[in-house]
Symmetry: C2
Subunit: 379 residues, 2 copies
């Protein structure tokens, strides 16, 4: 069922290779099954019910979200089991309660006595009930309480004493994105697992049941050797993959399911530049590969079939202009693409590039657009 050929699309447009996405999902679901854990996909990357339905173990979830708008959107579409994986701000508790009142089990997280006290105050004053996990810091990259700390036990005891049962512990090894090798990712996966399992073990020694032990990042999920003691796995970016993941060795370039379709609008022969109508608004400002061994600029340039063209990258970007040149700087390397040529540009970071678009143009097996899937943005 073809809706349009690529030539009919006005550019820039966000393309999603459906078959490749399905393979990426199958790979991660297979991992979760082999590791013996529940799969709770993170939907912040895709923000689309059509994508999420292929990810979830059932139409009711479970899923992980990064905003309450994501929780609202997926709850309205039947998802019942949602983890909001950003430490809760007290002025969001009304919104959380409103979602719970609609029959959603919306779990929240915290990592401090300060927030635990604010939550306990709220539970007392409103006779409210919240499902709470404690966030554990497994790698020092962001938030979370240290798994071996006295603070962890204080928070756990305080919550239980305040009538707030600790549903579990969760962590995100975001440092895995900076790993220099697959071996380092493997080591980080073990560090992530060991940290959160230690936290659960220490809480249980205090008589706190702590049923959920949750880990997740795409690199660690794909390379963990085992997840003993862990009950659930979260990951999001694997659904599309991107150049950062390829640079880490987590996927191949040809496994990236997301690309931006742009059109050649001019050349600068004196500089070796080809200009396209896809700039940083189309690619996002994300330069995630800039710290990797291979810097892909604002994106790697492929032909309309998704095959890399020579060694062309988007070396610069203005709001609606992309500057394409040969990676080597060769001045004659990027001038052979006539005005009007469509190109597919692979993104540094799927989450940030997809966020620039209201919809996915879904590519079927013949490379034509077979569907348009809406996605949302904002908060």
């Amino acid at each position: 069922m073809t809706m349009a050929s690529l030539a009919q699309l006005e550019t820039p447009a966000l393309l999603l290779d459906e078959a490749q996405m399905d393979r990426n999902i199958a790979r991660m679901r297979d991992r979760a099954r082999k590791l013996g854990v529940t799969f709770r996909p993170h939907v912040k990357t895709n923000k689309s019910i059509e994508v999420a339905r292929r990810l979830m173990e059932s139409p009711e979830g479970p899923i992980t979200v990064s905003t309450l708008l994501e929780a609202e959107y997926f709850a309205e579409r039947g998802v019942k089991d949602i983890l909001y994986a950003v430490c809760i701000a007290p002025n969001k508790l009304d919104h959380v309660a409103a979602l719970q009142a609609k029959g959603v089990r919306l779990s929240i997280i915290l990592d401090s006595m300060e927030t635990a006290r604010l939550l306990a105050d709220r539970v007392r004053s409103h006779a409210a009930r919240f499902d709470v996990l404690i966030e554990i810091d497994s790698d020092g990259h962001r938030s979370g309480v240290k798994p071996g700390s006295e603070d962890l036990l204080r928070i756990g005891r305080f919550l239980e004493d305040s009538g707030i049962p600790v549903q579990g512990v969760m962590t995100h090894a975001g440092s895995s994105y900076d790993s220099p090798s697959v071996d380092a990712i493997r080591a980080m996966a073990e560090q992530e697992r060991a940290a959160v399992v230690l936290a659960a073990t220490r809480l249980r020694a205090e008589g706190i049941a702590c049923p959920v032990v949750s880990v997740g990042s795409t690199p660690t999920a794909l390379f963990a050797e085992h997840l003993e003691g862990v009950t659930e796995l979260r990951a999001g970016v694997f659904v599309f993959f991107d150049l950062v993941m390829a640079g880490l060795g987590v996927c191949r370039i040809d496994e990236i399911a997301l690309s931006v379709l742009g059109t050649v609008i001019g050349h600068r022969p004196d500089k070796g530049w080809t200009l396209v109508d896809a700039g940083w608004m189309a690619m996002s400002r994300d330069r995630g590969t800039s710290a990797q061994a291979v810097d892909q600029g604002y994106g790697l340039v492929c032909d309309v079939h998704g095959k890399p063209v020579d060694d062309l990258v988007m070396v610069g970007a203005n709001q609606e202009h992309g500057i394409i040149a040969h990676r080597s700087g060769r001045i004659d390397g990027a001038l052979h693409l006539p005005v009007g040529t469509q190109l597919r540009i692979l993104p540094n970071h799927a989450c940030s590039t997809a966020a620039q678009y209201p919809q996915y143009q879904v590519l079927g097996p013949a490379g034509d657009v077979t569907a348009t899937w809406q996605r949302f943005s904002g908060w």
Copy 2:
């Protein structure tokens, strides 16, 4: 007329200080008047009819746009004179023609014989009429034909011979964003003016009328000493200003009208970090100040009234987490803001930060939200 206090907003949210915006607009309109040129504001920064109505010389325009969706949106709201300031891709000509058929004078630009030929083919085959300007390269930063080149005259003669009258020449001195000083901006403004006036003079010597001579970038517009020979001025980011403009000396920090409201969600005392619920999705990935003398990280942290707090900046960002720390790295410098504290974070680049939001929360004189203005994104 208060709709909400800031405390009632769920964060992150995009705040727009209306009075400051009005002052910024008055400053630029005053400049255009004194310079004796038509003001054709660029609406790519704001993408909102409420903002654009305050910018435009009349409800019918003129305006500058960076996408055809912007042209569509503003045309539907009564704007009749629109310059689409990105070299035209041939597969957009149907769309341009459709807008013209609705009574919009939509001018397009090009910078090569290659595109001129494609346009001439189209004019012949469809008996179409297009308003065309030639883009001039005044600083080597992006697209455009050199003002002293033989190519310029070839393109001009070819268009006229093909029955496509040259409406004018236009340029954008994007390099002004990299100027090391206000003196350098002033010199760049003169370079921009001289280049486009040279191009017009050379075309006129060939018998090509070339009525429009158009320049524009916020820095050069604000510092040009005169615009002799120029007929119109374009600029966009001045409406809000941002940290990049402040770093250039184009505005003061307290003239930035746009900020992101975030809420403190935790602390990492061991690292001196305060975490907020506004990450790169809320700020954008734009790190425009990273190459300036003062690197503002992902944004400069202000209190809820818009005053900078000590010397706190957002030093790191994940998708929905911002990491705030003291600029000096002092570990005790950023820990005094309790969970639940709202902060206003000034953005590096107004265009990219605003693009992350579906609406502006408009602040009135008392610092409360007095209106919500929708904005759009995508293509």
